[in-house]
Symmetry: C2
């Protein structure tokens, strides 16, 4: 593929009859050229559709104008979770007006994720990164600090000392608002069909459910891989028992919909004999019949907030103070009711 010659600052300089340095001054609005010359240069640059080479700028030490997002999920599960699309859309909305792009890669392990950060840093390819799914003793944080790569973490945990700026998602509060609601309705046996146990939010939610024990609520956790198939299996097992739970809570909406279908197939009326709820909302959760009671989080807003926070963080000399993300709301719909 033969490349068209690009218009460079030298071309503009030649056309304007000045030195490249003068053109740089003019284009970046800094002193060193007369107003008259500046206008002339700007006009010529405009006419020839000059645009700066981000490669050259990056080489010179300037920012790349790109933020990075390394997602540690299999390509298959990415599509299943509405969370990502919403988050990305939100990030984009905050970046679009600033002419900043988002670069995204899928990684298959946390080691690969760390390697990606190193590569991005060495190449000066991104100015900062968004990190999700924080863990205890997260190996990514020391690396990010060593690289001095600005980062914003989204997670259900306050950032510890030396960790990047974090937007804290108060997952225990979230868990309370849903489990307490079910408890208040009168449910005394609640099953929680969760994701993998290593996720912080899974652990937090599990703790909250266990905490309801003292109020006479029997909680039960089933770990899955987030797939609808695993949710169906779990639901089928739960409903085949003599002692059925009266409420089942799923970690996300797709799993809840899968669970709902199993209940219908097995002739268990929802919400009459069984309440169903989800920790994740989506458009579809409100459209199925019965519509599903969910924790509604403004994921789009969260993405926008994260991106804005990251841009601040990139400009700031120090690690900024943590923030608290907008508190998710409980959206009560048709799938939950007082147990029989």
């Amino acid at each position: 593929m033969n490349k068209t010659k690009r218009v460079t600052i030298t071309d503009i300089a030649r056309l304007a009859g000045v030195s490249p340095g003068a053109v740089s001054f003019a284009l970046n609005g800094r002193p060193g050229v007369s107003e008259q010359t500046r206008k002339r240069i700007l006009t010529i640059a405009e006419e020839h559709q000059w645009l700066p080479s981000s490669a050259a700028r990056a080489l010179g030490g300037a920012g790349a104008g790109v933020i990075g997002f390394a997602v540690n999920r299999s390509a298959g599960t990415l599509g299943a979770e509405a969370f990502f699309t919403d988050l990305i859309a939100g990030v984009q909305s905050a970046l679009a007006e600033k002419r900043i792009a988002m670069q995204m890669v899928l990684v298959s392990s946390i080691e690969e994720e760390v390697a990606t950060y190193r590569r991005w840093h060495s190449a000066n390819q991104v100015d900062g990164v968004i990190v999700i799914d924080p863990r205890d003793d997260d190996p990514r944080f020391p690396v990010l600090r060593d690289l001095a790569l600005p980062a914003v973490v989204l997670g259900s945990h306050a950032s510890e000392e030396g960790h990047p700026a974090t937007i804290w998602l108060d997952d225990s509060q979230v868990a309370h608002s849903l489990f307490d609601y079910l408890g208040a309705l009168g449910h005394r046996s609640i099953a929680y069909v969760a994701g993998p146990a290593e996720f912080q939010h899974t652990r937090l939610r599990t703790e909250v459910l266990a905490g309801l024990g003292e109020r006479g609520v029997r909680g039960e956790v089933i770990a899955t891989d987030f797939s609808p198939a695993a949710a169906s299996t779990a639901m089928r097992r739960l409903l085949s028992r003599l002692e059925r739970p009266t409420a089942v809570v799923f970690d996300n909406d797709v799993m809840a919909i899968a669970g709902l279908r199993v209940a219908q197939e097995m002739g268990v009326p929802v919400p009459k004999d069984l309440s169903v709820a989800s920790f994740d909302d989506s458009v579809v959760a409100g459209l199925v019949h019965p519509s599903i009671t969910c924790i509604t989080r403004d994921t789009f807003g969260l993405g926008a907030e994260a991106a804005a926070f990251l841009l601040e963080q990139i400009d700031a000399p120090e690690v900024l103070a943590d923030r608290i993300g907008a508190l998710p709301q409980l959206t009560v719909r048709e799938s939950t009711a007082v147990p029989r």
Copy 2:
């Protein structure tokens, strides 16, 4: 944010006691250094975690190692369509092993999209782009050709002369497989709740439906903005008439689910009194009750194919021949049946 000093090729050269040029030869596997020296240099580079600066490489004329995807959708609707997430996931799967990143931006008009391509080209920021939603007399194609920016188009139209390489999605065949199926079941009055009329696939599907007229099928098209609310409204209107259609086809799965709910609310049994189908599949479409008959496209595979094709195109000296995307399949589920 103070930056850590990066390890450069010069550092490695100093440590190995050779010139930077020799290091470059060694690292890129080209002749000019002895095997012994090459090994020594590679070891040192490894030890010091040297990684090439893509900015410097790009400046030197090499590729950026990034492909671009400008999406002309509002941030809000991005999340609603599973298509994008699946496509992006597929693209990523094809890029990941090649260490190539995808850069994505949202644009709000085709002009802005063109401007983005110009910017990307001037900055040598991306090596190629994926283009979706082709139009007649598409203004993007001449620009891409002028810039000699490699591109792959995904669309329901053969590429015309001078257009970028295209993966052709045979939408009229797709439309046939669904509408013909409904016709064969015995439906004689079919409503098609479509997206905006300017999309080529909307037009093609509309034409196919109209073509069924000669076989005694009365078709009807309702244009919407792809939103579930619009789908609900359309469905409510259709079912309030004296002469109801016996089948309603939606452009995507979320709309179909919204329509399904309206039918249930209005007491119209699906599929007994009304068949419902969708031109877009998703996990959820198979999980709702009744599950929805859909055209199932391997969007993930399409994304992977598009990315692979684009990489080929980037390496190729000329515009490659068009390809035909994998043919979507009709997935018959519970929501369609013989009309009463």
